[in-house]
Structures are given as structure tokens and as C-alpha cells.
Amino acid sequence: MNRPHQARTWLRPAGALLAGILFFLPIYVVLVNVFKDGSSIVSDPLGLPSPPTLDNLQSVLSRPDHLFWYGLINSTEVTVISILIITAISAMLGHYLARTTGIVSKAAMVVLLCGLMVPPAVILTPITEVLRALGLMSSVPGLVLAYIGYYMPFGVFVFAGFAKTIPRELEEAAAIDGAGAFRAFWQVVFPLMRPASASVLIFLGVWIWNDFLNPLIILGPADGTTVTAGIYRAIGEHQADYGSVFALMFLATLPILIFYLAFQKQFVKGLTGGATKG
């Protein structure tokens, strides 16, 4: 990577650093103000907390209505169950469609890919009616089912693309060894698709955790809320108390941020798979 030599070598790192600082400023504001009391948030929003206080975090964790804890439990439940089921089902479907060549499976592929661009708002009303008919409205299984349908195209897209890189001979060998199609898939093919599974799990994990509109409408206000819908409700309640709103956002983001940092490499790899093919 020997780029042509440039004269002012400090210009690039300085410019990059400045751009990074300006860009990050809004997040910095949240991070420092989580650890300040109300009056110093107003008087000195940009300064470092001195002395830092954990009052905001504590007040969120010990809210009498358990908004954060209920949200955390619901978000975790919805996200984990959804991404596991979507990964399993879309891996089977994607692999199946990549391996069969009939006109039906080609048509199914096209119809699935069209689903990639359907805005959630377009189908939200009928989804609530389908779920109501199934008796799953205002429930975690209902929300999970909605996600399975909505994100099926993405999973199929990733797995079908990846399945084409796996040599067919491996599956034929497994079949000759007497493994049924089901066992051959889960014991031979699925482990080989680990990079695709990683992409699907990570992307969907982030998207579902952060989703707002579907939990707001499908889970509804009565029974439960997810962390994102909970933040929206909290800002309605105490508009001015930024200390506790920031603390709630900080706690709500922490799990998904840790999840992302743990899988950062695969995340970026999955993202850039298509951009480097040219």
C-alpha cells in the first residue's frame, strides 16, 4: 500500500480526527450527561462529569413501573427467538432454492427478493389483522412471527448466495453415506454456511433490537414494550429530564452495542461482500 508520497503528511490525520470528533459529538453529549445531575446537564452540557454520579442509571433501574426491565426482557426474548428461527428457516429455504432449478423455485426466488424493498408501513394494518385472526396480536409470538415473515427475504438472499459456493459433491457424498436430506443439511451443509449464518444473525439482531414501529403497534401499550418503544414512552413522560432519558438510552443500547462489538469483523465483512466484487 505505497500510495504516492504527499507533502503535508499531518493534514490527513488531523482532518480525519477533526471530522471524527465533530461526527461523534452528539454521542459524546449522551455519554457524559448520563453521569451528571440535572443542574449540571443544563449549566455545562459539554463538560466531563465532575464528580460523576450514578443517580440517573439507578433511577432508571429502580423505576416503580419496571419500564427498563420489562423492555429488556421483551427485547431480548423477541430478538433471540426471531433471529434463531429466521436463520434456521431461511437457511433451509435459501439452500433449497439455490439447489432446485425448476420454474417454480425461480419464481419463488423473485417473489422473495421483491419482499426486500417492501416498507413495513405498507403491510402493518393487514398484519395486525392476520395476527388477530391467529390469536397472536399483542403477544411476543405474534411479533416474532411478523419478523420471520418480514426478514425471510433477507435471510434467503444471503443463504442462497452462499449455498452456490458450496460444492454439490459434499451433499451427494453425504447422501451416498446414507444420510437423509434433513441430516445431510444440518450436519454437512449448515456448518459450512457459518459465515452466512453470522451475517444473518448479526444484521437481524441489530435490526430487530432497534425496531420501533412493529413493537409499538403489534405489542401495543398494554402488555409489554421493547426497549426502543420504552424510550419513546419515557420521552413523552418527562420531556425535560434528559438525565434519566439518556440513562435509559445508554442501558437500552448497551446490549446491542456489546453484541455488535463482539461480531464487528463479521458484520463489516457481511456488509462489504457485495461492494468488492467489481
Binding site: 471524527g20 461526527f23 452528539p26 429455504l93 402493518l124 389483522e129 392476520v130 446491542i256
Partner: protein, 332 residues
């Protein structure tokens, strides 16, 4: 026996010929050659394979995406309102009504404005930052992560962060007042400004996505091309125009299509930052208008007509954009 034996020595000699032909023509012929033997087994097991592998995904997709699309289309031809039955068939009245509905037209216009601004800002900004960060070292690695953080955050969280900064007595305006600006702009309360503020927040969140895609594109450009261009006497600007920009075509395609689709879907940021205001629908988008009309107004039929228009627009824009951009990839 006498009929059978002459065939036997022939058989092995026939197979190698077939095989070499298959080898030359590659995979497809190879597959065809294998196919005849297990065909019966395949069609027999085909149905159960379909039931196990394909059916679960297809059934859920059918029930929760395709059927709802059909239902939306059907509702759009009625005056459906769950709290005001009976539902009547109104034909294309909803659709024609939309085009004289100022609120809808405003939402359509806002959606276009947001989409265009977001697409331009994320692509131009993303490319500029990617060019800046296209070096090795810990500083550039760290900065890459910094720009990517908002992509991982919830749109609600991002909107609340920016709201705390941009409200009338928020951080930005109190800083401006300290600097001696007596009447700082109402970033979210000025009807002429709020739409651009909202667009900026959406663009800020999407920027890191474009940065990562452009960086990957830049790193895929062979160094020799730059060296050849330098030998031919190209300056930095010429190198960008003749090498970098054409080689980035696939990255431009991905980023543009993703920004277009993302801009069209904009909902969360509107609800948190402005709730469609200030004033009637000044920042309302198609998605916001659809949800408001369906769930707050209960005019499901009318909202469905909006949703159909939205779906057709998204499809048309993505197909046209994808077609144009991929054509560019091939020719350049």
C-alpha cells in the same frame, strides 16, 4: 448371452467418451448425466423435501407479507374503517382522492425531499470520509468504528439524541446564544426548516454505512491502476476521475439503492423528532401518513390506497435506479 456380451466391452469405451464431453461442457452436463438414475427417487422425495426445507419459510412469508400486500390492495378499493362499518366498495375513489389531498401530496413531496437529501449527503459525505480514512493505522481503524456506531443504534435513540441538541433551548442554540446569536433558528420548530433538520438526522445515521461500503470499494482497487495513471501523468484529480470513480461503481450502486429505500421508509425519526409537525404535516412522510391515517384516524381503506401508491413508487424507483446504476457498472 450372445446378444449381451458384445455390448459389455463397448460400455466402458462409451463412458469415457461421454465423460470427457461432459468434462468439457462443465457442470450442467455433469448434473444432467447423473440425473436420470435417481430421477424416480428424486420426484418421490421431492415433495417431502419441499415440505421440510421450503414450506415453512414460504408459508410464513405468504401469510405475513404476500397476503397482507393483497389485503392492502383490496382495502384500498373500499372505505374500510373498523370502527365505522359497513365496509363498502368504492373502486378507485380513494386513489383519485389522494391526488387532490393536500396532506398526502405534502407527505409525498416531503418523502422525495428527504430521500434526495439523504441519498446525496450520505453518498457525497460517505465517499469524502472514506477517501480520508483510506489509510492503515490505529487512528484510521478507530475512526472507522466511530463513523459506524450510529448505524448500530436505534433510529429512536438517534432521534432523541439530536432532539436534545436541536430543540429551541437545546445544546446547539444555547451555544449559539453564548456566541452572541440573539435569535438562533428553531431547528425543529420552524416549519421552513424542520424538514431539512430531519433529513440531516437521517443522513447522519446512515453515513457510516456508506463510509464502510466505499472503504471496501477503495481497498478493492488494484494499486497498479494508480501507478499506471501516475506514469501517464495524471494528477490526483484526474486519477480520481479516471480510476477511483469508475472502479467504485458497484459501491455507488449499493449505497444509492440502500439510501433510496431507507429514505422512502423514513418513519421513526419523524415520530420522535417532530410528530409530523410543526404545523400541519410539514415533516410528514408517506410512511408516517399511512400509519397515522390507519391507526389514529382508522381510515384503513384510504390509508391502504396511500400504501399501494407508496409500494409502487418504491418498486419503480428501486428498479429504475438499480437498472441505471448497473448499466453504468458494465460500461465503465
Amino acid at each position: 448371452m450372445r446378444v449381451g456380451t458384445p455390448h459389455r466391452p463397448e460400455a466402458p469405451s462409451a463412458t469415457p467418451v461421454k465423460q470427457s464431453a461432459a468434462g468439457e461442457r462443465g457442470r450442467d452436463t455433469h448434473a444432467k448425466r447423473i440425473a436420470p438414475t435417481p430421477r424416480r427417487a428424486r420426484t418421490k422425495g421431492g415433495l417431502s423435501r419441499f415440505a421440510v426445507f421450503a414450506a415453512p419459510g414460504l408459508v410464513v412469508y405468504l401469510a405475513l407479507v404476500l397476503v397482507p400486500i393483497a389485503m392492502t390492495t383490496g382495502y384500498s378499493l373500499t372505505n374500510r374503517n373498523p370502527f365505522n362499518p359497513p365496509t363498502r366498495w368504492v373502486g378507485l375513489d380513494n386513489l383519485t382522492g389522494l391526488f387532490s389531498d393536500d396532506e398526502f401530496l405534502k407527505a409525498l413531496q416531503n418523502t422525495v425531499v428527504i430521500t434526495v437529501i439523504v441519498t446525496l449527503v450520505t453518498n457525497a459525505g460517505g465517499l469524502a470520509i472514506a477517501l480520508l480514512l483510506d489509510r492503515r493505522g490505529w487512528l484510521y481503524n478507530a475512526l472507522r468504528s466511530v463513523f459506524f456506531v450510529p448505524v448500530v443504534l436505534s433510529a429512536v435513540v438517534v432521534s432523541v439524541i439530536w432532539q436534545s441538541i436541536l430543540v429551541d433551548d437545546g445544546l446547539l442554540n444555547s451555544m449559539l446564544r453564548d456566541l452572541g446569536v440573539h435569535h438562533p433558528p428553531g431547528w425543529l420548530s420552524d416549519p421552513g426548516l424542520a424538514l431539512y433538520t430531519v433529513s440531516w438526522v437521517i443522513a447522519w445515521q446512515g453515513l457510516g454505512f456508506c463510509v464502510v461500503i466505499y472503504l471496501a470499494g477503495l481497498q478493492g482497487i488494484p494499486q497498479e491502476l494508480y501507478e499506471a495513471a501516475a506514469i501517464d501523468g495524471c494528477g490526483p484529480l484526474m486519477r480520481f476521475r479516471k480510476v477511483t470513480w469508475p472502479m467504485l461503481a458497484p459501491a455507488v450502486t449499493i449505497n444509492t439503492v440502500m439510501s433510496l429505500i431507507g429514505g422512502f421508509k423514513a418513519y421513526d425519526q419523524i415520530q420522535v423528532l417532530t410528530n409530523g409537525g410543526p404545523g400541519p404535516g410539514t415533516t410528514s412522510t408517506l410512511a408516517f401518513q399511512v400509519v397515522q391515517t390507519a391507526f389514529n384516524g382508522n381510515h384503513v381503506g384510504y390509508a391502504s390506497a396511500m400504501a399501494v401508491v407508496m409500494l409502487v413508487l418504491v418498486a419503480a424507483v428501486s428498479v429504475v435506479a438499480l437498472g441505471l446504476l448497473q448499466k453504468r457498472e458494465v460500461t465503465s
